[in-house]
């Protein structure tokens, strides 16, 4: 009831945000660039240019064009992606699945590393291990991802040959069907261990690269909230029961410190989405980020609009889930206040 109302209220804002973002992006695209530049060749005659413009509906007035696009969205038609030479809706699910898979894997890296480091540091506040942990975690956020990624590739792909790039081996890709587009999930559904291992193997490097960047946010939150929890009476009470420190930290302090940490996962997600652009380019990961960068550089407006549309929704959903999970974890909290 409480939660449902809250969710409904948040979801109600979504269309507003979507209209806002799409308007901004649409205007930006029309003011600054030519949406059909990708098709233009120098030797085209004005007639030919006009012909292409007509095909893409660019002869209408700007508001008409926007409404045409918005109407298409409502009908499930997001236009035609120039850079991928296909209707957006045809390629989007696969791309979205690729980015989601990478983001989730990176989030797993970031969250587990962040929680471990944060716990480690929070239990040793202001001592050398804490300082070293802080430097290590912040280093992740401070390293230029594109440089870090290339160095990882040189070491693990070229020199050691331990990890591949891309999403999967083509033969293995073809050996199973891909109903979800999330390869690890597809492999599990198909019950193929080989495919699963292959998917994981391809995921490790990009997920580590991206996840390490987001680790700092989680570590920081975990550290401070753990330190705060360790000052709580119930921690002393747990010690007074005779529990070993291991259990005091894990069962008592860490469990509660995790609750506020959940709230920054939404923040970390923004970081992941942004970092995914570079990581996808370098690790040849066919996701939304790389598609988007390509579209921006080549002026593929339908793609840009679709990307913004979906990241906005994703962003909202992630934050909504985070809020709900937070409310669930922390039984004392009332949503929406």
């Amino acid at each position: 009831m409480q939660i449902r109302e809250y969710i409904i209220r948040r979801v109600m804002i979504l269309p507003l945000i979507l209209v806002g973002t799409s308007l901004i992006v649409f205007t930006l695209g029309r003011v600054g660039g030519n949406p059909i530049a990708i098709y233009l060749e120098h030797e085209m005659t004005p007639d030919e240019v006009a012909q292409i413009e007509e095909r893409y509906g660019l002869n209408d007035s700007l508001p008409e064009q926007y409404f045409a696009w918005a109407g298409g969205v409502l009908r499930g038609d997001l236009g035609y992606s120039g850079v991928l030479a296909a209707p957006v809706m045809d390629v989007l699910p696969k791309r979205l699945a690729a980015t989601l898979e990478l983001s989730v894997a990176s989030a797993i890296v970031a969250v587990s590393l962040g929680i471990a480091l944060g716990t480690f540091a929070g239990a040793r506040r202001n001592r050398l291990p804490d300082h070293l942990t802080r430097v290590f975690a912040i280093s992740g956020a401070a390293t230029p991802i594109f440089w870090f990624a290339i160095v990882l590739l040189i070491i693990f792909w070229v020199n050691l040959g331990w990890f591949p790039v891309g999403r999967s081996e083509p033969e293995i890709f073809e050996s199973i069907s891909h109903p979800t587009g999330v390869y690890t999930l597809d492999a599990l559904l198909a019950g193929s261990f080989t495919a699963f291992r292959d998917a994981i193997w391809h995921l490790i490097l990009p997920a580590v690269t991206l996840g390490y960047g987001a680790t700092a946010i989680i570590t920081r939150m975990m550290r401070s909230s753990l330190a705060e929890e360790l000052n709580e009476d119930y921690v002393d009470a747990a010690r007074a029961k005779g529990l070993p420190e291991r259990l005091v930290l894990r069962r008592h302090a860490r469990r509660n410190a995790l609750i506020p940490t959940v709230t920054v996962i939404g923040l970390g997600f923004g970081f992941l989405l942004q970092g995914s652009v570079v990581v996808e380019i370098i690790f040849i990961w066919p996701g939304m980020g790389r598609w988007m960068a390509d579209a921006v550089l080549r002026g593929d407006q339908a793609t840009i609009m679709a990307y913004v549309l979906f990241t906005s929704i994703l962003f909202l959903v992630v934050n909504l889930v985070v809020d709900v999970v937070y409310a669930y974890l922390d039984r004392r909290v009332v949503l929406g206040s």
């Binding site: 660039g33 098709y39 030797e43 012909q51 480690f120 290339i150 070491i155 070229v158 930290l249 040849i284």
Partner: protein, 590 residues
Amino acid sequence: MRTRTNRFSRFHLLLIVAVVLSLVAAACSSDDSTETSAPSATTAPSSDTTAPSTDTTAPSTDTTAPPDDDVNNPGVYVHAADDDPLSLDPAGVAAGEAGETIILQTYDRLVEIGPGGPDLIPGLSTAVPTVENGGISADGLTYTFPIREGVTFHDGSTLTADVVKFSWDRALEMDLPEGNSSILADLVDSTSVDGNNFVVTLKDRNAAFLNSVVTAAVASIVSQEGVEANGGVVAGQPNEFFSSDVIGSGPYTLGAWNRGENIQLDVFDDYWGEPAKLDVRIEQVPDDDVRTLGLRAGDFDSIETDPTFVTDIEGAEGVTIFAEGWLLEPVHIGLNLDIREDLLPDGDTVPADFFHDPRVRRAFNYAFNYDNFVEGGLSGQGGVVPHYLPQGMLAYDDSLPRFETDLAEAERLFTEAGWWDDGFEMTVLVEEGGIFEVAGLVLKDSLESLNPNFRINVAAVVEVQFDDAHAAVPFEYATWIKNADPFADPAALFAAYIHPDGEWGDVHKFRNGYQDADGIAALIEEAAVSVDTDRRVEIYQELTQLLFDDPMWVIPGNEKALMAHRSWVQNFTMNPLWPRPSLKFALFDK
């Protein structure tokens, strides 16, 4: 108590430290294979720069390398590309677009450009038409192609002369604006079928018809049954099926096109000629550095190569750089004789008639530091070009006049033209990254070091911005840098880039500058329709002399045809006249 370490976290820290240490260790030990990175370009197979590629008719090969059991991806040839096709339809593909290479591998044309150079070899026509064999009529207007028998398309249908006619007519009828059908439409008067022959009648005599038109992607032969089963022919409308699929007769069928990821080509078993040996996968790898890494790692057999990263790959174990022959698309700096001062970027001070004065154009040509561009930008893999005949082109000769950096002459000309004392500021438009940006920086450094009053701003913009600006008329910048479109024959090159009323002559208003515009136009037109090769060579060589005195471009240089590939690839060859990446995969083995 509180201070006690907990084992779990300590373990994690140890793990992290271990990983970091191993990373560092691996990074430190990773350079052993690359210690011999002497700053020279000599390791690339040398090619005699004096010999135009027309002479090297035999395909260059690496057949000495024995078949390696250790090859990566056995049975599949992997090429790392930087560009995904927009369309796979011969009628809808633009010149220079990534779809062309797929069409090259999966479709056949009547005649093909052979592996060794500009020489033509029979394709679906059993003979290359010549005047001697009667394939070309005496007036040079009628071409007759005897059609090969026993050719099957990927869909099982059979090739006939009617299918050939259908294919050409299809492109002409669809007449897609983004496609290249205009080259057919401009020349072809009519097509007809005579028994087993396909006959083309031209509007005018044209020396470049076979080389530039019949071999072009737009002239590929498609399966008539396939077209009729998949939407037929609609004028002005792209065909959805053929935009993303292939029914041709080439040595490869389209296995899969995972957009933005890879394109897979499968060997076509019923191919009429020598069948291909390896399946092909063309991977989309947007980042240059990752392409070179993949080549080192052995996961890619060849990569889209640019002279700027020759120094990054040369000497790498198991990698060979193919560098024979020349690209036919020199880097050129466009000089706008139609400057609109109100459209220029902020800060530009050049007037509308800046480039009208031939002394200014010559001064730019003398001021440009060709050494810096060729040795620096092209890593030595290139050469200076006469106006406007690149190495490897018909009529090219090493003795032709070409500019060399001569600062004194540049100073003299700028002084005479009245710019030396006052100076000027000007923006040069380039697409960011790669050799064009480098050329821009060389131009900047050349002029600014010549005279501190000269200011060149390099506007390195992204692809969409460049394309947009490049296509705009009137042109909004005083200068810009790109490369020429690759043309097999000088006729097309001169028409596009030198003719006062040609493609660029029109945009840049060459007539504002040429001292003898009509004379130049007449020469170009004569050479275009002449079938007498000697006469044509004579005319083009004369034009280079005229243009040396009255240049319309600055030509920083021409690139060698370069491709880095794994040494285990056998029979490797490339031909710059084939669309990028200038490879025919059917020839390779590994």
